[in-house]
């Protein structure tokens, strides 16, 4: 029962699977560890955390095993994240540290940057939709989308400014109209008494239409006035 020497913890939460290995792992545990972990990896999940912080590996044969795990997860289009912070594990995984994604803890992984989140979201949705995008293409599409949104925003902004200007102009003209109306009323009030005395004929109050209804009379009148002068 070599497997009996392995301390193992598996926790599932949504698409995340967290596996923790504890103990000292030598040659005798290699086969059972491979068997147990492979079986766990064959189940559902999108993001796999393998916490080896409290595990110590005494032989190098474990490295190819972890590379196999990484390969299997990649084939499943998932993410494989190794979690540890100890120096002994840093030394152990050093030859392949550029291949593995290594973080001190799950919390630290979640705090990593925009591209990691994008990758995580990408992994989740590629599983759900079947669509696959490389990070480069995803960023390019994202830039185009952002460009579209920026242009649309600029157009809307320009139109809003123009509308504001027109509103201001309308308001100014309206004010001017009110002012002129008021001036006109003042002037009419001033000449009102004279008009009542019949000293002034209000050309405005005389209907031009009544005069121009008969163009012949109108022209005769103009001629008479001219001759009288």
């Amino acid at each position: 029962m070599k497997a009996d020497l392995i301390d193992l913890f598996v926790e599932e939460s949504g698409d995340e699977v967290y596996i923790r290995l504890k103990g000292t792992f030598g040659f005798t545990q290699l086969a059972p560890v491979r068997e147990k972990i492979e079986m766990l990896l064959s189940g559902p999940g999108k993001i796999w955390f393998l916490d080896v912080d409290k595990a110590r590996f005494t032989i190098q044969e474990y490295l190819p095993m972890f590379l196999d795990f990484l390969e299997k997860i990649k084939q499943k289009e998932g993410l494989f994240v190794l979690l540890f912070k100890g120096d002994s594990n840093k030394r152990f995984f050093n030859p392949y540290s550029h291949i593995f994604e290594i973080h001190p803890s799950r919390a630290a992984y979640r705090k990593t940057g925009f591209f990691k989140i994008l990758k995580k979201v990408g992994a989740t949705y590629s599983k759900q939709t079947g669509l696959r995008l490389s990070p480069g293409i995803a960023v390019f599409l994202l830039i185009i989308l952002l460009g579209w949104f920026a242009t649309l925003f600029a157009i809307i902004q320009n139109q809003a400014t123009e509308i504001q200007e027109r509103d201001a102009s309308v308001m100014e003209m309206e004010t001017q109209r009110h002012r002129l109306q008021s001036e006109l009323e003042d002037l009419q009030a001033m000449v009102g008494p004279l008009r009542h005395l019949g000293l002034i004929v209000d050309s405005n109050s005389v209907s031009l239409n009544s005069k121009v209804n008969n163009w012949t009379n109108y022209l005769d009148m103009l001629e008479r006035e001219r001759r009288a002068k």
Binding site: D4, D7, F9, E12, S13, E35, G45
Partner: protein, 626 residues
């Protein structure tokens, strides 16, 4: 003849209650009697009270408390410190020990306005490793039993005075408690005077510790009257415990002391409270469950969340959950076990909620601390501990909505309780008593270790187990290859157990194959229990033990504890039902501790043939199964 110098400690144990920390009227009576005792007898006294009683005094006995504060200032009363729930501290991790001590220390300081300088525990459980923790908390001395000091010093003569011990750079003083003198003080005067006369004459101050029994409040008044009379008649010089260090010099140093006192149900000659964990599987499981909850909280939570959870674990450290005693005094009581399990299950539930954890986990770890691993499987509604090295049987089966652990009793022969523990039996057994005897005998039990594999699927997790099992049936050895599988859906309260048996020998097998479940239960009183087999109601108390053929459906319901389970069989099974009986204070085993179920089938297998059996177990709160 000189007057005998005596330091008397009165201590009280918090009575067990099914409810959470209710105020007991007896607490008020106790305060009144202690005040009266101090007033009338003019003695100097040391007193230890669990934290809840002190808190209850602060709310309901203000006058007595104010009087006692005055007595403390006058040097007539000393309050001794300890754990808030009076636990056997050596059993628990340092952090929990510290929390117990700090909580009690702060409540004494706040309510009595005095800092305790001594440490007392009613079981007098003490180990050298506690020195540092007690010294760190500011305690100057601890009380231990005289027997343990005698053993440590290699003396057979009386040990009186005080001693020092050191560990990891910390020192503490030890005061031996004379158990025989303590007992004599509450007996009649003639016995006491004989005991006093037998003590060696010296100038040392003897220490006695007397328990005040709150379970019999009617005797409280007479208890204090008798004690006061004995003290006056014997003409003792009485001092508080801390006064001993002002009056006397140290009597030497001791090392590697381990002490356990009384009231734990341990036999004479026991050296440590740890023996409870070996003697009682129920205590051991409670202890390991508490340690696991503390471990889970420590790994998942930080800061105030962690402290809050650890504070909720403190009540389960009370000695009642570990003592090998009956009724409501110890773990032999089904009610005590139920309350302990309930507390730990609810704490585990809170840990999962605080850690934002859906409770879907599989943990392979040495849960029972026995040197090999077990598999702990949890979903949001159920959990079980699988012992793959003990025939892949279940050591616990928890139904979370009702906060019950169904595998909480013991087996009829007093052994560790298990569920889905398999047997191959002789086909000539026809009567229930024969079958029970064969199960107790264990000759056909399939308990060889299994190799395991964990298989995760979208909606469930399976633990697959594989083993070659050898059983002795009808004086012949048979070898079977068994594939056993426990399947737990992630979001459902049901458990599927399946078996594939293959006869790997060249001889034909004929016998019974079955699986045994030892489930805890309360006494079958009233109508809250119901048992149905194939839809027919079976009267529990009168009909058991019972052998029932061709069962395809069996339902059991406990309306009071709000849980019910149903077994469905792929092939009609025979069911043997019997009660697990334990004794109370009388010798006769009459107290129902649980129910033993044995599901079995006739099995006739030719060489290399194989057979499949499936059992589905569904759980619900009210007995409605969808």
């Amino acid at each position: 003849m000189n007057r005998l110098k005596l330091s008397l400690l009165l201590y009280v144990k918090e009575p067990f209650s099914k409810d959470e920390h209710i105020f007991d009227e007896n607490y008020r009576l106790l305060a009144v009697e202690i005040k009266k005792f101090l007033e009338t007898s003019k003695v100097r006294l040391s007193l230890f009270l669990p934290g809840h009683i002190i808190e209850a005094w602060a709310k309901h006995c203000i006058n007595e408390l104010i009087w006692m504060r005055g007595a403390i200032r006058e040097g007539r009363l000393e309050i001794v410190g300890g754990g808030f729930y009076d636990p056997m501290l050596p059993l628990f991790p340092t952090r929990l020990q510290e929390l117990q001590l700090q909580k009690h220390f702060s409540v004494v300081e706040k309510i009595f306005q005095a800092e305790p300088s001594g440490y007392f525990n009613s079981s007098m459980a003490w180990e050298i490793g506690m020195t540092e923790t007690l010294a760190k908390q500011g305690f100057n001395y601890a009380l231990v039993s005289e027997d343990s000091l005698q053993e440590s010093l290699g003396r057979s003569t009386r040990v009186v005075g005080w001693f020092t011990t050191e560990d990891r750079g910390a020192v503490i003083r030890l005061l031996p408690v004379a158990q025989d003198l303590s007992l004599a003080l509450v007996q009649d005067y003639s016995s006491l005077s004989l005991k006093v006369a037998s003590l060696p004459e010296n100038e040392k101050i003897w220490v006695a510790a007397i328990s005040v029994n709150l379970n019999r409040p009617e005797n409280l008044h007479s208890f204090f009257e008798k004690l006061a009379l004995n003290l006056i008649e014997s003409d003792f010089q009485l001092w508080t415990l801390s006064h001993i260090f002002e009056q006397q010099m140290s009597d030497g140093r001791v090392n590697l002391l381990s002490s356990v006192g009384t009231d734990l149900g341990l036999p004479t000659g026991s050296h440590s409270c740890r023996e409870l964990l070996i003697r009682r599987p129920e205590s051991n499981f409670m202890h390991k469950s508490l340690l696991a909850a503390n471990r889970h909280a420590s790994s998942l939570l930080r800061g105030s969340d962690l402290s809050s959870i650890q504070n909720q674990l403190l009540p389960v450290m009370a000695p009642v959950y570990y003592a090998d005693l009956y009724e409501d005094q110890g773990v032999r009581s089904p009610v005590v076990r139920w309350k302990g399990s309930r507390s730990i299950i609810s704490v585990e539930d809170k840990i999962a909620k605080m850690a934002d954890f859906r409770g879907r986990s599989v943990e392979v770890t040495d849960f029972l601390m026995e040197g090999y691993r077990q598999i702990l499987v949890n979903n949001s509604k159920m959990g079980f501990l699988l012992e793959q090295n003990n025939g892949a049987s279940l050591r616990s089966l928890i139904y979370k909505p009702s906060l019950v652990n169904m595998v909480s009793a013991f087996r009829q022969n007093g052994d560790v309780p298990v569920a889905f523990f398999d047997h191959l039996l002789d086909p000539s057994l026809h009567e229930i008593k024969q079958i029970e005897a064969a199960l107790d005998d264990g000759a056909g039990s399939l308990k060889a270790p299994y190799d395991y594999q964990i298989e995760r699927a979208e909606k469930h997790v399976d633990v697959m187990l594989r083993s070659e099992q050898i059983a002795n049936v009808s004086s012949k050895k048979h070898v079977f290859h068994i594939d056993k599988r426990f399947a737990l859906p992630w979001n459902d309260s049901s458990l599927n157990v399946s078996y594939v048996l293959s006869n790997t020998t060249f001889s034909e097998f004929e016998g019974y194959f079955g699986t045994e479940l030892n489930l805890g239960a309360r006494n079958f009183d009233g109508r809250s229990y119901s048992l149905k087999i194939n839809g027919s109601k079976i009267p529990l108390r009168s009909a058991l033990p019972l052998l029932y053929p061709d069962v395809s459906l069996m339902e059991f319901k406990d309306g009071l504890l709000s849980y019910a389970f149903r077994f469905t069989f792929s092939k009609p099974a025979k069911v043997a039902l019997s009660l697990i009986l334990g004794s109370d204070r009388s010798a006769a085993p009459t107290l129902v501790q649980g129910i033993r179920l044995f599901f079995f089938w006739n099995l006739t297998m030719k060489s290399q043939a194989s057979e499949t059996y499936k059992i589905q177990m569904d759980l619900s709160r009210r007995g409605f199964f969808l």
